[in-house]
Amino acid sequence: MQSFLDILMILLVLLNFRLLGASQLGTCVHSVAFQAVIIGLLALLPHGLAPSWTWLMVGAVTLVKAVVLPGLVRRAMRETGVMQELEPFLGYTVSVILGVGLLAASFLVARPLRVPAGGMTQVLVPVTIFTMLTGLYLIIARRKAITQVLGFLVMENSIYLFGVAFAVEESWLVQAGVLLDVFAAVFVMGIMIYHINREFDNIDTDRLSDLKD
């Protein structure tokens, strides 16, 4: 059991690195969806394999995060014709190296925190923090609005992970509220991106600042 958990954790970390190093947006969307599935599994593990009310809830949540939201993002990609992040503020190699730094920082920060991991693996908290930082990193360092939406989703995943750590029994309760926000946000952003693209012929967020003043 413990080793299975650890494997899931390692998978999460690797997915984060994949997000940091990938230029194809399709890859990123895929990674985010995969992360959502892993986190859903993590939430179910403490409850055993017997079908229950929790299964239904977690299943629904995971369905939204792994299928519906990535679907919305893919649609925005299709409509705008943006498939690739061409000129990020910080390059992919640099991003991966910085990602290693972020991972180290997460472990450093998490050790003195002594968050009750709810009987789960010890690396849960650092990995959560790392996922959150990855999401923020994507928002800060990438140019396309779609990547920023993805960063947003990664952050949401990490918040869910925290939910798993803290509220072991009713983690989906915390989750439901967060998810509702994120769903609305992604929905609105998808529409926004479409309209911004139609008006300005690009969705580079740094050029949105032309609108200021």
């Binding site: 923020l136 928002i139 800060i140 740094d206 949105l208 200021k212």
Partner: protein, 649 residues
């Protein structure tokens, strides 16, 4: 109490009704509600003053930081009556002043804020809880800001509004400090506020600066000459006449929390009074803009009020009840008088502005012939503000003089008494010079430019006439007025045995008798003149023109040339900048002269300080690039920093 609640209800309903959209705006609900509310407020204030019945009311529900606790004692009632009186007339005047040319929507919006301002001013005077007081104070500041920027599309008006907003909020910041110091246990109910020792002195200074900013004491007055000219005239009348008096009210209320005053508080007040008075009247003399001139006169008159109150504080601090009684009575009566004649003058100026479309005195002239009612009313106001008998300004300044002379004869704080006497004398002389200039240039002589001025509508002239009559009536009923402000003055001198009102009554009776004699003489001469002229033809011709063959209206004294001798005498202080292009050669082609007097404090202190601040603020532009990525980065860095700091700590 019922009348007061009714008044607040009227104002609230009026504000709501004026804010209604569309077709409803044609019905003048705003002015009507303002008039009704003011009438109820006036009734409440006068009833409380005459019967001496104070009331106190605490609502059962509470605000986040205090209770809804209101009350009306003699001090509140005096200000309530004054605010309601001026508000009533200003509402009638404003209804005519804004007319139809500004559009119904804009007028309705303006009257919405007018009603809110009236309600908040009354609430400031009624509040018996610090939190409620501050809320009302802020509503008052904001609603008057929106009234000032009524003509926001005109150049300079928004700037004036911002200066006012910044000044009033800096003042409020000090008031917060004051209430924090007064309410030691976090309880801000007025009945439990208090301070002693050094804290009391700090509280006094905070109140002096905080309330002084609103009232317009000399170094903190900079917003007055900006905001008053920018506002519509009925708003100027209301603001200059009564809103700045809420600052005086606040200062007096704060003094009542502090118990026995220190003598140096009185000296500070006297010093500020002399400084404000002389500074205000000098800068008024150098102005070309009629409303700016009046605004500086507000600074001057607030100075006179401070002189009276300063002597009152000195009297009660050093144990001279007669000085205290005369000083407080003089100061409070001058509050009332200034409220009346200053709103009259602003209404007169507004009427001239309405007719000519300019505030520049040098473009007006000869308005008396076209606007006899406005001219006569303005003349009465001008004579009253110069403290000439038989009008009301004389009565209050007489009481202040009397207090100062009592200081001298009682050998108590002789220097303060001397400073007051010398200051008042100088102020009085300069004020007379200033108003002969204002009235002479605007209303007498010949029109300087082709203006088609005609008398304002009755809704504007009647309020002016009413105020002019009040000026005369107060001058003639000085003992009654002194009796009216006496209970309020009694509240301000705690503990000390108060001087017998009989002495003051006798003194003021003498003043009124002399005033009545003077008024009678004027009337007699007027009748005599009419009788002598009966049956004779009256021919009007040029005044003596030094033998010059072709006089023109441009050869009259202008506002600047009339004031030139005095302005020249004080040029070091005034710093008037003159751009002269003198005539040259035997056959000069053209010549010009321009003079401009900027406020000393604005130029030397507030301007440079604001420059340094905005220079510092510009440095932060490096951080604010307008890129969302960077902003999110800042947030992340801040969170990480807090995280690490928390771990390290």
């Amino acid at each position: 109490m019922t009348a007061m609640m009714l008044s607040l209800l009227f104002f609230g309903a009026g504000a709501l009704a004026a804010a209604l959209p569309g077709r409803f705006r044609r019905f003048p609900a705003g002015p009507l509600a303002a008039v009704l509310g003011s009438a109820a407020g006036l009734f409440s204030g006068l009833a409380c003053l005459l019967s001496g019945d104070a009331w106190d009311f605490t609502a059962a529900w509470r605000l986040p930081l205090g209770y809804v606790h209101v009350g009306e004692d003699a001090l509140s009632a005096l200000f309530v009556a004054l605010i309601s009186l001026v508000g009533l007339l200003a509402a009638v005047y404003g209804h005519g002043y804004l007319g139809r040319d500004k559009g119904d929507g804009k007028k309705a919006t303006s009257f919405c804020w007018f009603n809110i301002l009236m309600a908040s001013m009354l609430l400031v005077c009624l509040a018996r809880d610090g939190f409620l007081f501050l809320v009302a104070w802020e509503i008052m500041a904001l609603s008057s800001f929106f009234l000032v920027v009524f003509d926001h599309e005109k150049p300079g008006v928004l700037r004036a509004g911002w200066i006012y907003l910044v000044a009033t909020h800096l003042g409020t910041a000090l008031l917060l400090v004051m209430f924090l110091l007064l309410g030691r246990g976090g309880d801000l109910d007025f009945s439990r506020l208090g301070a002693s020792g050094a804290t009391a002195s700090v509280v006094f200074l905070a109140a002096l600066v905080g309330f002084g900013t609103k009232a317009g004491f000399a170094p903190f007055h900079v917003w007055l000459p900006e905001a008053h000219p920018a506002a519509p005239s009925h708003v100027s009348a209301l603001m200059s006449g009564v809103m700045i008096k809420t600052g005086i009210y606040g200062l007096l209320r704060a003094l009542s929390f502090l118990g026995a005053p220190e003598p140096w508080w009185g000296w500070v007040l006297v010093g500020i009074g002399v400084a404000s008075g002389v500074y205000g009247v000098l800068f008024a003399l150098a102005q070309h803009d009629l409303k700016r001139l009046l605004a500086y006169h507000s600074v001057e008159n607030i100075g006179i009020i401070a002189l009276g109150l300063g002597l009152g504080v000195l009297g009660s601090a050093t144990g001279h009840p007669v000085v205290a009684a005369l000083g407080f009575c003089g100061g409070l009566l001058h509050v009332v008088n200034h409220g009346i004649f200053k709103s009259l003058l602003f209404m007169g100026a507004g009427s001239a502005l309405h007719a000519t479309g300019t505030r520049e005195m040098d473009r007006m002239g000869g308005l008396m012939k076209h606007m006899p009612v406005t001219g006569a009313a303005f003349l009465v106001g001008a004579a009253a503000i110069c403290a000439l008998p038989p009008l009301n300004g004389f009565v209050s300044e007489f009481l202040v003089y009397a207090a100062a002379f009592t200081c001298l004869s009682a050998r108590a704080s002789v220097w303060s008494g001397l400073a007051v006497i010398a200051g008042l004398a100088l102020i009085g002389g300069l004020a007379a010079a200033c108003f002969t200039k204002a009235f002479g240039v605007v209303f007498l002589g010949e029109p300087r430019t082709k203006l088609t001025a005609c008398e304002s509508p009755r809704s504007m002239t009647w309020p002016m006439a009413a105020l002019a009559l009040l000026c005369l009536a107060i001058g003639l009923s000085a003992p009654f007025m002194a009796g009216l402000v006496m209970p309020a003055a009694k509240l301000l001198a705690p503990g000390a045995a108060f001087a017998s009102p009989v002495a003051i009554a006798e003194m003021t009776a003498g003043v009124s008798l002399a005033a009545a004699l003077l008024a009678g003489l004027v009337l007699l001469f007027a009748l005599l003149r009419k009788r002598l002229l009966r049956g004779r033809t009256v021919r009007s011709s040029l005044t003596w023109d030094c033998g010059y063959a072709a006089p023109s209206a441009r050869m009259q004294y202008t506002a600047s040339s009339y004031a030139m001798p005095v302005v020249g005498m004080f040029r070091l202080l005034l710093g008037t900048r003159v751009h002269a292009d003198p005539p040259e050669g035997l056959f000069p082609k053209g010549a010009s002269l321009e003079s401009h007097t900027e406020d000393l404090m604005m130029r030397r202190i507030y301007g440079p300080v604001a420059g340094v601040l905005s220079g510092l603020a510009d440095r932060f532009r490096l951080l604010q690039q307008g890129r969302t990525h960077l902003y999110i980065l800042y947030i992340v860095l801040a969170i990480l920093f807090l995280f690490l700091w928390n771990l390290a700590g």
